[in-house]
Symmetry: C2
């Protein structure tokens, strides 16, 4: 199959959709009975993998007829590649036998989508050095980057129960914060988004058996856009000494689309060398990082009333991340911690080198002290009720269909 092959499905060759044969992202939709169905996106359609079952290799059918992808994720890269190869042929113009497939195609338009995997554990890294440095400048100007940063892929365990699919309404959390010199319990006044990528684990590992850096790529299944909503005032008051807790766990929005690593791998670029070197267990000769353009947009109550399109807030790119997805997997398991299929490893806020490439308002507005002005004239220090935040991401190789990640959206109730 040539890498720029065309598909016979409606919209599949449309660069604006970015869901061609070289993409084939996974998702989950609800059928007429309200039951979860695993599907693959192609152009303006979903391919229902249960309905397409007769065309799928027999040993994969059971896993793909389940209500989550977890079983299939656990089958490993040979199974993922096999399905991908089969689907790329079936959906290509070279295939003339389309009857079963046509019956398994569902038009996408307003179909509500769900997260295709059940996430057992969710981990959030801090892999953008630009972000860590600029946040550090705000709170520790004398020593912005802590001495461990260049050595340890810093991360914390997030909350799995409050992961929600893109489109779910987000409620402004109340919590403790320091007001003058004493704490109060009140709705947060510093609600922020965090632009992130979330990598899903495919095959897991047994407790006590680390995944080496050479093996790590075989454990990565795919990637989604993720918004780690954060209440900065709650976080600032609670986070010492055990890290963020209620400032983060009220909601994390995730795109219902998982772009397979096979689609992303063609977009990889060499990771930048680290000035201080890298400890041996995180090092090999082919460290690569994903190269995705990322955009944050906002629409506000006022902008929607004026029928304005969403307004761009910032633009970033994942190629500047300090740690690769493989390094995150290896570090996470290096002490023996077990990962399970469907676990989610997010990057942390992805900020570019320049200040306007920041992936959150904390950086863009310097903790609210320098509000930004939106294209319609509104100002924002932090988010206001009614604001909708939209993340998009895409990448393109010369002569290929662009790959557009599934959007991640969320509107603040109000």
């Amino acid at each position: 199959m040539p890498s720029n092959a065309q598909s016979w499905v409606f919209g599949a060759n449309d660069p604006e959709l970015g869901r061609g044969l070289n993409h084939l992202p996974y998702t989950c939709f609800l059928d007429e009975k309200g039951k979860r169905r695993i599907a693959v996106g192609i152009g303006a359609c979903l391919l229902d993998l249960k309905a397409a079952s007769p065309l799928i290799p027999q040993h994969l059918r059971e896993a793909l007829s389940e209500t989550t992808l977890n079983h299939f994720m656990g089958l490993g890269p040979a199974a993922w590649r096999e399905l991908r190869t089969v689907l790329q042929f079936l959906l290509s113009r070279a295939n003339r036998d389309r009857k079963v497939l046509e019956a398994a195609l569902v038009p996408l338009h307003d179909l509500p989508l769900e997260l295709p995997a059940a996430v057992g554990d969710y981990t959030d890294f801090y892999a953008s050095r630009h972000h860590a440095l600029r946040v550090g400048e705000l709170f520790r100007p004398e020593k912005p980057l802590l001495e461990n940063y260049d050595w340890v892929p810093i991360a914390y365990h997030g909350r799995a129960s409050s992961l929600v699919p893109s489109g779910t309404v987000v409620r402004r959390p109340a919590g403790q914060r320091l007001a003058d010199s004493s704490p109060v319990f009140a709705p947060t006044e510093k609600l922020d988004y965090e632009l992130e990528l979330g990598f899903y684990i495919g095959q897991g590992n047994a407790l006590g058996e680390p995944i080496t850096i050479d093996e790590a790529e075989n454990h990565l299944f795919g990637v989604s856009l993720l918004n780690d909503w954060s209440a900065r005032d709650i976080q600032a008051w609670e986070y010492q000494p055990l890290g963020p807790f209620l400032g983060k766990n009220f909601c994390t929005s995730v795109s219902p689309w998982i772009t397979p690593m096979e689609a992303v791998n063609s977009l990889k670029v060499r990771a930048q060398p680290h000035q201080n070197g890298i400890l041996h267990y995180l090092q090999n000769e082919h460290l690569e990082t994903v190269n995705l353009n990322l955009i944050v947009q906002i629409s506000t109550t006022r902008s929607r009333r004026a029928v304005l399109a969403p307004m761009q807030v910032s633009q970033s790119n994942s190629r500047g991340l300090f740690w690769t997805p493989e390094q995150m997997v290896t570090h996470h398991t290096s002490g023996g911690c077990n990962l399970r299929p469907g676990d989610l490893l997010a990057t942390g806020t992805i900020s570019g080198e320049r200040r306007e490439q920041a992936g959150c308002l904390l950086e863009l507005t310097r903790n609210g002290h320098e509000p930004i002005t939106l294209p319609n004239g509104e100002r924002r220090a932090f988010l206001e009720d009614g604001d909708e935040i939209i993340f998009t991401g895409w990448s393109q190789t010369e002569g290929q269909m662009p790959i557009r990640l599934g959007e991640c959206r969320g509107t603040l109730l109000g």
Copy 2:
């Protein structure tokens, strides 16, 4: 049923076992086919709740025939009380109709037990002020207790995948630590235990709908002993600014026994008032805390060779905890975070007021600088390979059978 009623089951009235009619802890065992079965402990036996099904109220049977307790936990306190009342009668001497029950009783002795609930999310608090203060003295002598401690029930998200039942062998993790002035990757040299209680959530709450302090007790299902194994050197190097990660997530041992809150509630004592006051959302008129005596024992390769009984390392009590289980539930959900049936909220290390009541070696040995001497003459700064750590806990009310929590054990491979 009088509160000191006797049971006809073997061992049920033996105070050394501490599993009388006033206890009835839940657990899970594997049947001959290796299938998980939910059971209740009584004396020297387990009551297999699936086999006892004909005697159980019909609307509870389905939940109790499942392979985990999660469904039953979600039914709420009326269901839990109903089952408890029925079992207390059936297992009492007043009941003469014992045929079905006898067939459902399984002798306990060496039956391997499993965790009876599937834990979706695991949270670890820092609820012992004595512990926080003494750890603070080690690392920040000028300011041992951070200013948020007396206001915020500090906690972090732990790792659910690496929760293991008591008895599982624990492997010494490798990880990054600072050696002289540069980091190395090597096996931890500061492996420690943490004496904790873990509270299981019964009914959950919907995302965005906090549980008030008055409602919180209806969401607590039961309690288990828990050992949050910690690698202090890894933790010290990685924990800034996002909290503990690999220093904790390599393994957490949990007793397979869950003591129901109904059994624990009779042991509660009034919580100590806080000098600074308590913010309104965490306050009501009947704040109570559980009153359990807790003991840490060690057996070493040498002590086992000499056929010595496990040696006591320290003794503590949960009544000194600064935050109650209800306050933990309310704080956890106060920003809208959802809890699910089977989620686990642990207390953090439970240390008493005096130094010898410390719940971990970090405190007992002042970060290894003052090794302790065990009764057999061995010294310990931190744990050595082959060491087994055993937690036990019990409580007693005048004229009642004592309630003994299920043990939590773990041996370091080596």
